[in-house]
Every structure is written in structure tokens, then in C-alpha cells.
Symmetry: C4
Subunit: 243 residues, 4 copies
């Protein structure tokens, strides 16, 4: 389509390469954390992969900034993208790019708005849990006073946090770990909110169906009335014609 802007065309073309870059970054990020005794050669190679993936993300940001019609507006609207690319601390968030895969899943599944919300929530929650577990393990393992020492512990801690249960048998003790926890807690509140809202929306709709039926009846009444008036008009015209 000729109406497609240059930014749209770039985004469409960059979608898959960036998703692949995110998948490669996932491997390069997760592997050294999950296997701390990785030989330094492999570790070095994975470092290169992570660097290459980062370069792709950076190029994407720069190109989109260059193509934007209003660069100031673009800058403020995409400040999150810039921070994720520029700050090494936020590099786990690059994996959120994988949410794109959920877009594809939803496109094929079709379905209602609520159905798509369920797919997104389940997918995003799983992704956030996995990424947060990796990040907290990386931040806490081996630190003084830390109690998260394996991926099992990390995943368990992430789950108790995102559901706001918070037993307290595992918890972060470093500043980075606490920042990750903060993000996860807010995700948990959002998760509870979305689950509740989705069910509320379903229940309200079902209860209102009776009411909707009544409104449909009103509509049918109006149509019948319109019909009657039209007939009346035809009768009047024939009366006028006969006179």
C-alpha cells in the first residue's frame, strides 16, 4: 500500500529480525546464569551474540528516530525503548520484545477481545516470571546474606512475589534484586487487576444479556413502527391521487 508510511514499512520489515535477535539474546542471557560453570570460551561467544543482538536493537531505535516525522514527540513517546537499549541494568527487559510472538499467536487464534486478553496475560506473565527469575538469580547468587541460590529458588520466589503471597522464605537482599522485586510486585498487582477485570467483564455481560434482549425488542418495535408509518404515507398518497 502506498499510504503506508516509511516508519510502518520499517517496523513491518524489522519485526522478525528483532524477534530472532530477542530469542538469541534470551539464550545468550539465560545460559550463563543457568550454568555458572560454563567454559569461558562459550561464555565469550554468548557475550558476542548478546552484543550483536543489542546492536540490532540500537540500530532499530536510531532508524525509527530518523524516520519519525516529529522527532521530539517520538523521543518522549519511546523513552522506555531508549532506556532499555542504553542502560545495561535494564537489559533483561529487552526480552519483553518476545511479546511479539504473542501478537502472532493471537492473529492466528482470532477470537474475542477477552480471549486475546487471556492469551496476552498468560504469555506475558510466564515471560515476566522467567525473565525475573533469571535476573534475580544473577543479582543475588553468592552475595552476602542472600537466600536465592538456584534457579528453582528464583522461580519459586518470583511466583510467591507476583501472586503477592510473599511467604518470606526467600527474598532479595541487594539493591538490584530489590529493584527487580519492585517491578515484579507491580506486575503482580496488574495481574490480579486484569484477571479480576476480565471475569467482571464476562459476568456483567452475561447478567446484562436479559437487558439487551429488552433493548432488541425496543428496536424491533421501532422497525415495525417505521413500516406502519411508511404504509400510512402510501395510503395518504393514493388518497390524494384519487381526489
Amino acid at each position: 500500500m502506498s499510504t503506508e508510511s516509511r516508519v510502518d514499512r520499517w517496523e513491518r520489515r524489522a519485526e522478525w529480525p528483532l524477534t530472532v535477535a530477542a530469542l538469541l539474546f534470551l539464550i545468550a542471557y539465560a545460559w550463563p546464569i543457568l550454568d555458572p560453570e560454563l567454559p569461558s570460551g562459550v561464555r565469550h561467544a554468548l557475550g558476542l551474540v548478546a552484543w550483536a543482538a543489542w546492536a540490532l536493537f540500537a540500530v532499530d531505535y536510531v532508524v525509527r528516530l530518523a524516520l519519525a516525522t516529529n522527532r521530539g514527540k517520538f523521543f518522549f513517546r519511546n523513552i522506555f525503548d531508549l532506556l532499555v537499549v542504553a542502560l545495561p541494568l535494564l537489559r533483561p527487559l529487552r526480552l519483553l520484545r518476545l511479546v511479539t510472538l504473542l501478537h502472532v499467536l493471537n492473529r492466528h487464534a482470532g477470537g474475542s477481545l477477552r480471549g486475546r486478553v487471556v492469551v496476552y496475560v498468560a504469555g506475558a506473565a510466564s515471560l515476566i516470571l522467567f525473565v525475573a527469575s533469571l535476573a534475580i538469580l544473577d543479582a543475588e547468587r553468592g552475595r552476602e546474606g542472600a537466600n536465592i541460590e538456584s534457579f528453582g529458588d528464583a522461580l519459586w520466589w518470583a511466583l510467591t512475589t507476583v501472586t503477592t503471597v510473599g511467604y518470606g522464605d526467600r527474598f532479595p537482599v541487594t539493591g538490584t534484586g530489590r529493584a527487580i522485586a519492585a517491578g515484579l510486585m507491580l506486575s503482580g498487582i496488574a495481574l490480579i487487576g486484569v484477571v479480576t477485570a476480565t471475569f467482571a467483564s464476562w459476568l456483567i455481560e452475561k447478567v446484562q444479556e436479559v437487558e439487551d434482549a429488552a433493548q432488541t425488542a425496543t428496536r424491533r418495535d421501532i422497525e415495525a413502527l417505521t413500516e406502519q408509518v411508511a404504509e400510512l404515507r402510501r395510503a395518504l398518497q393514493s388518497t390524494a391521487a384519487r381526489q
Copy 2:
């Protein structure tokens, strides 16, 4: 009815035998956990009962698969049923079959959609609490570092978990125990969601009643209008006749 498909007929006929099988399985599953010093003869007999109940579930699955018009679709739609039958780890979930009893309760109670939601939530929450308490006790008791050693502890832990309170005086330490906890936490979020949504639906309906009254008034107006137009038409016809 001749329009009833063969699958429907099977399901209707299998409903009660499967519920009885689930009740027997409940006894065979719960008793040895609640009484760890059961004589080995009784334990062996209960093992046979559990095996027989499992066989019934397996037969039900196979027959439904055989009767299905589209077996591929049936397979994917009932993947959960297959896993519950095939994996020994998921065998406590066979007890969820007892939710059928809630169907019967609801059928007799009649009542509104919200009333039925309340019955399901109370029933399902109680069942989940009981089954999770049994499963966690089975998974944790006697393990190194475990702190859930009696059914009282297990039920108390399940309650603090499903309500997302999570004191942390009791918590699972084994992998199986943590998996059970994960299921229970997600049930807890769902429980909060359903309670909130049910009340929200009630409150929104009450507040909207004023609005609905206004819409009913609109409907009455339209009916009065239809009446008037019909009368007008009759007047017109008599005018035309007199001419």
C-alpha cells in the same frame, strides 16, 4: 431424543459412575495420607480401589476419543483430561471431577447466574483447599527441612496461600510441594477475581437500575406512539372511506 449424539449419550450415562469413581478415589487417596500408620492390608486394598477408579477414568477418555467426530480436535481440546489420566503426578486433580456434584446442586437450587457463581466458587474453593492440603502433606511430610507435618498444618498453609496472606510460618520446600503451591496461588488470584467481579456486577446492576427505569420509560413512550399512529391510520382510512 434422536438428535442426541452418541458422545452426549455416553457422557450422560457415564456421569454418575465417574462421580462415584471420583468419590471412591477420594477415599483411597485421602485415607493413607491422613493416617500414615494404616495397616498394609488396608493400604493395599485402597490401592486397588484407586487403580479401579483410574481404569474407569481411562476407559471414559478412550470411549469419548473413539466416539468423537473429529478426533484431532477432541485430542487438543481435552489435553488436560489426558494428562490427568496419564500422569501419576497429576492424580489429585482427578478429584476435581467432584465438581459435578456442584452441577447437580445448582440444578436443584435454580437461581440467578450470580447465585450459581457463588455456589461454584464456595464449592470449588473448598474442594481445592482439601485436595491441595492432602497433596502437600503427601509431598512434604518427613522431607528434610519440611515444616508441614500434619493435616492441620497443611490445611492452614493452604488457607494462607489461597488468600495470598502468606505468613511464611509454613511453606513447601520440595519441588512437588512448590508445584502444588503454584497451582494454589493461581487459584487464589482467581478466587479474589471472582469474588470482586461478582460484587462489582451486583453493585453496577443496582446503580444502573435508575438508568434502566429511564429506558423502560422510553419503551413505554414508543408503545404509546405506536398506538397513536395506528389510531391515526384508522382515522385516515375512515376519512378515505367517507369520501
Copy 3:
């Protein structure tokens, strides 16, 4: 009014005496718990007051059962009242009778449905917190391994429980204490649900006001139309008269 049934008349007349009885019961229940070194004379007198209040509740139940037109139905509908009167374990629940005072408060305050929900929730939550703190202190203090030893501790524990925060610095260890905690946790879930639902109802109403404005416009259109049709009919009648 002669249409007032005998049950209604009894309930109207018994309302205040029962509320006073609940207030006296509150004093007789709370005082010995708050001051464990009360002289045995006072303790004995308060025991008599509690007994008298209980007698009033029992008389009320029996009279209502006797006056009911359908006693079987009354029995099942008021099974909760019976349990509270009959079981000494549930005697703190007699204090929930004080919710009657909220009725009176609401009657004077008038106000919208949402306003009344807010008054009930704030009042009932405060009452439940206070009663649960007294009950847990009574159940736990001095028991082996217990960590709730003063009213301050008890109130603090009740608050962390009803909000589902659950630090775990204080928690019940006796069976009675855990049963009280279970009730409080469920109240907490209900509390979250009601707060959320009330705000959701408010927000949905505000957002829908635009929509409602559109519907009002529709209504105005219909009124204008009715007017027009009536005028048309008058014109037709005068035409017919002139002929």
C-alpha cells in the same frame, strides 16, 4: 400498619433491646480479655451479664421460630443465627449484631447506594478487626509457642491478615486461633473485593455518562416525534371536519 406480619412486629420491637444486649455482651466479653488481672468478683459479674445477653438472643431466636409461617424454611435460612446462639465457640460472632447500629447511621445519613456501601464496609471492617483481635488474644495468649501476647499484637496481626499482607511476625498457632484467622482472611478477600467493586462501579458510571447523554438525546427525539405525530393527528381531524 395492619399488613405488618407478627414476625415483622417482633423484629421491629426486638431491634433495640438486642442491640443493647450486644453492647453489654461486648463489654462482658472484651473487658476480661483486655484486663487479664481483673478481680474474680468483677469477672463473675461480667459472666452473668454475658449470660443474660445470651438468654435474650436465645429468646429472640425461639420467638422468631415460633412466629414463622414456614418453620422448616425459617430453620434453614437462619441456621447461622442458631449456630451463633448454640455454640460457645462462635460467641464472638454475637457482636456482629452491632452492625444494626450501621443501619441506623445509614438511615440518618441517607445518601446513595455507593455511599451506604462505604459506611457499611468501614463500619463492618472496624468491628470485625476489633472482635477478631479480642478473640485471637483470648485463644492464643499464654499458649505454648504463641507470639500474640497483648491487644496491640493482636490488633496488628488482625490488620496484616485482613489486608492479606501477612508479614509472619505474628501468627496463630492454636486450632481456635487458626479458625479465627480463616474467618479474617476471607473477610479480607471480601474487603478487597468490595473496595475494588465500589471504585469500578463509580468509574464505569463516570465513563458511561457520555453514553447516557446520547441516550437522553434519543429520548428527547422520541418525545419531539410524539409531539409531531399528535399535531399531525389534530391537523388530520380538522381536515376531516372541514370536509
Copy 4:
């Protein structure tokens, strides 16, 4: 405008001075808590600033009371303002005055009701977190058995509390600290409620759009009908004229 009451005029004029006073109070309150080794000269100067800010708040309250048309009603409606001014214990709440800055932010941002709710919630939650962290640090640091000893600990504790996670690695042990915690827990429940309600409102609106489309169709029908009736009337008038 001459219709502006004297109270309104005062409030409009006092808005900025009071916000500046709140900002100065924030510095005077936060600095000595964050830096406990502040030289006593600076500490004394900050004490004077806090005193001056308090004086402004007190003057504002007295003037508004004096200008009020119904002083009794004003007194009961603004009992919260009086307590915040009169009780030294509640002085951290004076910082909530800074919510005024959110008003200004929202006025410039414009946007929908839901957008404004998001700005308020994010702003108020951040402000409450910061103020609660300062207050708890002030209340707990150096007390016997306390475990909140630095601003990092205090902020972390505030976050686990407001999200209702409650690990229990940090918790208040003093009466003042527990009172602050109570306020924060209730804020947490309100936060969950508002997040859920905002999403529910969005989802319900999206789902209802189909329904709204149907109602718009009804409206179009009524307009077409009105048009037809008007035309019919013109036809009738011309018929009458021709006769």
C-alpha cells in the same frame, strides 16, 4: 468573576503558597531523617522552616473556617485538615498537599477520565511510598528489636507492604510504626482496587462497543422516522391546501 465566593477566592490565591510551603516542609522533614548526622545548626534551621510551613497551614485553616458560610458544617467536613494541622503525629500527612502538583499536571495533560486516574494513582502512590518510608524510618531507627535501619530498608518495606506481598524480612515493631503500616496497607488495598477498576472499566467499554454500535443504529432509525413523519405532514398540508 463576581459569583466567586470569598472562600473560593481565598483557596485559589492560597493554592501556590501552600504548595510551596509543602515543598519546604518536605525538605525540612526529609533531610534530618535521611542524614541523621546533620550538624545541629542546619537541623535547627530546618526546624524553623518546618515551623513556618506549619504556621501557613494553620493560617489557611483558620481563614477558611472564618470565611465559611456554615462553620459547623465546615468543621465536620474538614476534620481531617484540622487533625493534620493540630497533631504533631500526623505531620507527615501535610506532604499530601503536594497532590496539588498532580492537579496542575493533569490540567496540562488534558486527556480522558481514565488517563487522569492513571496519573493520580501513579503520583499519589509514589508520594505515599516516599512519605511512608521517611515516617517509618523516623519511627523505627534505633529502637529495640527494630529491623528498619536505613532509607533503603524503609523504601523496600513500604513497597512490600503497599503491594500486600509482605515477606516479613522487615516489619515495624513500635506503635507509631505499626500505625504508619496500617495507613500504608489500606493504601495498598485502595491501589489494587483502583488498578483493577481502571482496567475493568476499559475492558467493559471495549466489549460494549458492539452493543453501542447497535444503539447508534437505533438512533439513526429514529431520526429517519422523524424525517419521514415530517415529510408526511408536509404532504398532508399540501393536500389540505389543494382542497
